[in-house]
């Protein structure tokens, strides 16, 4: 066999020496002469109409260079998914007419020191007329609930319907044929990524008219495109410098620091740094969304799942961010790696007046896996089979069709279960040891 240079070797991290000597540069370690610091003023209300934003006292505070509001934002929309045609625009970069969640950014105070920026931020006065807020998905979907989105529903519309649908086979007929109807209700709370490094950005205006942007985003080109759209500048004007992210986990994929910091730099002609506080990281940065999932399965006595009906509610918080996409991913994964001939899924992307949700590790899929696997154990319990058996019996094979109408390819659940059983010295019956992912042939 050819001697390989990297594969098979234990290769130390390229950045390892920098890490262990404290030399690795993070965004907050970037500093420029004459640099200003930014502090964001955030909504105290979960929902309301903005009647007035008065920045005069903050602007007059000694050491304050400027205050940035919606008026300074050339294209005051933040939509990630607009780049792939998901509409409508729903999230302003800085709040203009209304606030939709407690913590929503309203005005950015830019000052000589971080302390001055913080002190002056307390002097910005925003008059908000509170509106009734919806705090969870059930409240949002209840008849008579306040409608918080401009298009008239509290859900994202998928091709004219308020939910993402999967329709495969005939669940009602299969439920009638099932020996057991097994229900399960599952929920996942929102998680905060809590990276050790908070979100941060430094923008320096260059003499040639470009902006140098240091950012700890996980998605550098995405950030560049979005920032260019918001600033209404061609993307070649932006010199993006990424690098080491001090923990992302999906929490640094939203473009939440660069546009406003860039506007502040352009307004003042000076470098500007925005470093989120730990409190902001917990209370204002995106979290993963909460989920509530209701499963109804039709199961035969021999353990085969012949029907699955799921109603899933995702709490997107106040704005799209990536949630409409996450709900779609979730819907495609609810059956797990199992063959189920009749599937009905209604998955709702629900808006509430809460901190917007976004990606976190396995975005949309991990809640589905959690629910699907606990449901498998519940099924095993009900029909009197062990957890290994129920999975061997239901594992999908290559060539079978998933509920989303894709043919299964590269199935490996059976082989993985067999290897796992061997690893833990769990004896499997011969019939399971004889199974493999290619043992199904179309009739």
């Amino acid at each position: 066999m050819k001697q390989l240079g990297i594969v098979g070797q234990s290769v130390r991290r390229r950045d390892g020496i920098g890490h262990v000597t404290g030399q690795t540069q993070f965004v907050d370690d970037v500093t420029y002469p004459n640099m200003l610091w930014l502090r964001m003023v955030r909504s105290p209300a979960a929902r309301g109409l903005i009647r007035r934003i008065d920045t005069s006292r903050a602007e007059a505070y000694p050491g304050v260079a400027t205050v940035v509001t919606w008026k300074d934002v050339p294209n005051n929309w933040y939509t990630i998914l607009c780049l792939i045609g998901v509409e409508p625009n729903d999230e302003p970069v800085l709040a203009q007419e209304e606030v939709m969640w407690q913590g929503e950014p309203i005005a950015a105070v830019v000052a000589e020191t971080e302390t001055i920026a913080r002190e002056a931020a307390a002097l910005v006065r925003v008059d908000i007329e509170p509106l009734p807020a919806v705090r969870d998905v059930f409240e949002a979907l209840a008849p008579g609930a306040p409608i918080i989105k401009k298009w008239g529903t509290n859900t994202f519309m998928y091709e004219g319907m308020p939910m993402r649908r999967v329709r495969f086979g005939d669940v009602d007929k299969a439920f009638a044929e099932a020996d057991h109807i097994i229900e399960g209700s599952y929920q996942v709370t929102p998680y905060e990524h809590a990276p050790l490094e908070t979100q941060a950005c430094v923008v320096k205006p260059e003499p040639d008219g470009r902006l140098t942007i240091h950012s700890n985003t996980q998605a550098l080109y995405f950030t560049m495109d979005n920032t260019a759209i918001i600033l209404k500048v061609p993307s070649h004007r932006l010199h993006m410098i990424g690098g080491t992210v001090g923990g992302g986990f999906g929490g640094k994929v939203d473009v939440v620091t660069e546009p406003v910091t860039a506007i502040a730099a352009m307004k003042t002609g000076r470098p500007v740094k925005w470093r989120w506080t730990r409190a902001e990281e917990f209370q204002a940065s995106s979290t993963s969304g909460g989920w509530r999932m209701e499963y109804t399965d039709g199961v035969k006595n021999d353990g085969r799942i012949i029907a699955r009906k799921v109603r899933a509610l995702h709490d997107a918080g106040a704005y799209h961010r990536h949630s409409p996409y996450g709900v779609t991913k979730h819907s495609a994964n609810l059956q797990g790696p199992y063959y189920i001939p009749n599937v009905w899924v209604d998955a709702y992307c629900v808006y509430t007046n809460r901190q917007p949700a976004s990606a976190l590790r396995g975005f949309g899929v991990t809640p589905a896996s959690f629910a699907a696997e606990v449901q498998m154990d519940r099924i095993a319990n009900t029909v009197g089979l062990d957890p290994w058996a129920i999975r061997f019996i239901n594992a999908y094979r290559n060539g079978q069709t998933k509920a989303i109408r894709k043919k299964v390819e590269d199935a490996t659940l059976i082989e993985t279960l067999q290897a796992a059983a061997k690893l833990v010295n769990h004896p499997l019956p011969e019939k399971f040891l004889a199974m493999h992912s290619n043992d199904w042939k179309e009739a």
Binding site: R42, P62, T115, R118, E119, A122, L123, V126, I128
Partner: protein, 304 residues
């Protein structure tokens, strides 16, 4: 809900600075930080400025509040250099200087209850900075060392310019963020009398170490040679406005042996009488339940 259009004036920018004085240009409200090099100087300053001075022991609470802008004190006094640290033992009575670090307290062999409690506060770096007296002033759910001190019948030595008095710790806590200290007084020492009996310390947090408490228990039981409880102390942290003793639970043990029944009675009394707060760490009902669980466990540890 609201009644019609209410104009909501917002001053939330990350600091509740109120109407305090500001020094123009520097951006901070603090005008002076005193770092007295003796307790006399500290008391002198305190007699001049009284409650206008924000006192910092190790700074582990104060600096966080100042850094966030939650407080903007015009005057600050750090006690780090005031020579109020040190441990002395006289006839079995332990005299611990107010600014003795929790790391130092954690090294004490006797009484083991105090050292164990001190080791449960924060992490190593925090313990190196935090002071024993400071632990009397931290808001719940913190205050693990204070809980142990209560169970040990500790006494607070409070000084002002020209006078000193002793306040039993059991009478020190008056309410939420309220103590028996007068505005010109400073805690200079905490005395721990020689203690009898067997003790146990348990802390239930959200991590094994470096965690705020869901509940903290320090228990000490004195038994005669027939195994009868002659005296008991059951002190709790994170179970109310401040570290407290549950007297009714203590009374439930007196005159009885320490067995499942008496322990159950004591735990039930503790659950019945406490009024814990709910917070991001634990709800009120969960804290109440854990009070019962951990009082029971602590007493079983003592019972053997």
């Amino acid at each position: 809900m609201h009644n019609g259009p209410i104009l909501w004036s917002m001053s939330l920018g990350g600091g509740a600075s109120g109407g305090r004085l500001r020094s123009a240009g520097e951006g901070v409200a603090t005008q002076e930080i005193f770092i007295p090099e003796s307790s006399e100087t500290a008391l002198d300053l305190l007699s001049q400025h009284g409650s206008d001075v924000f006192i910092m022991g190790g700074g582990t609470v104060g600096m966080a509040l100042i850094g966030e802008g939650a407080v903007s004190p015009p005057l600050i006094m750090s006690l780090s250099r005031a020579k109020l640290n040190g441990v002395r033992r006289t006839d079995g009575r332990l005299e611990i200087g107010a600014t003795t670090s929790l790391s130092r307290v954690a090294q004490l062999i006797d009484p083991p209850l105090l050292a164990t409690a001190a080791r449960h506060v924060g992490g190593w770096a925090i313990r190196n900075m935090a002071t024993l007296a400071g632990n009397l002033f931290v808001p719940p759910p913190a205050g693990d060392a204070a809980v142990a001190l209560l169970a040990l019948d500790a006494e607070v030595v409070a000084a002002s310019k020209g006078s000193t008095r002793v306040i039993p710790l059991a009478q020190f806590f008056k309410g939420r963020a309220q103590t028996a200290l007068a505005p010109h007084e400073l805690v200079v020492r905490i005395d721990v009398p020689r203690s009898a009996g067997t003790s146990a310390f348990l802390k239930f947090g959200r991590r094994l170490m470096n965690t705020p408490a869901v509940v903290t228990v320090a228990a000490r039981v004195v038994r005669d040679d027939r195994g009868m409880c002659t005296d008991a102390r059951i002190a709790l942290g994170a179970a109310g406005d401040h570290p407290l003793r549950v007297m009714q639970a203590e009374a439930a043990l007196r005159g009885r042996t320490l067995d499942s029944t008496s322990i159950e009675d004591a735990a039930a009394e503790a659950v019945r009488t406490v009024r814990p707060h709910g917070d991001a760490l634990a709800s009120e009902w969960f804290r109440r339940r854990m009070v019962g669980v951990y009082v029971r466990r602590a007493l079983h540890l003592i019972g053997g």
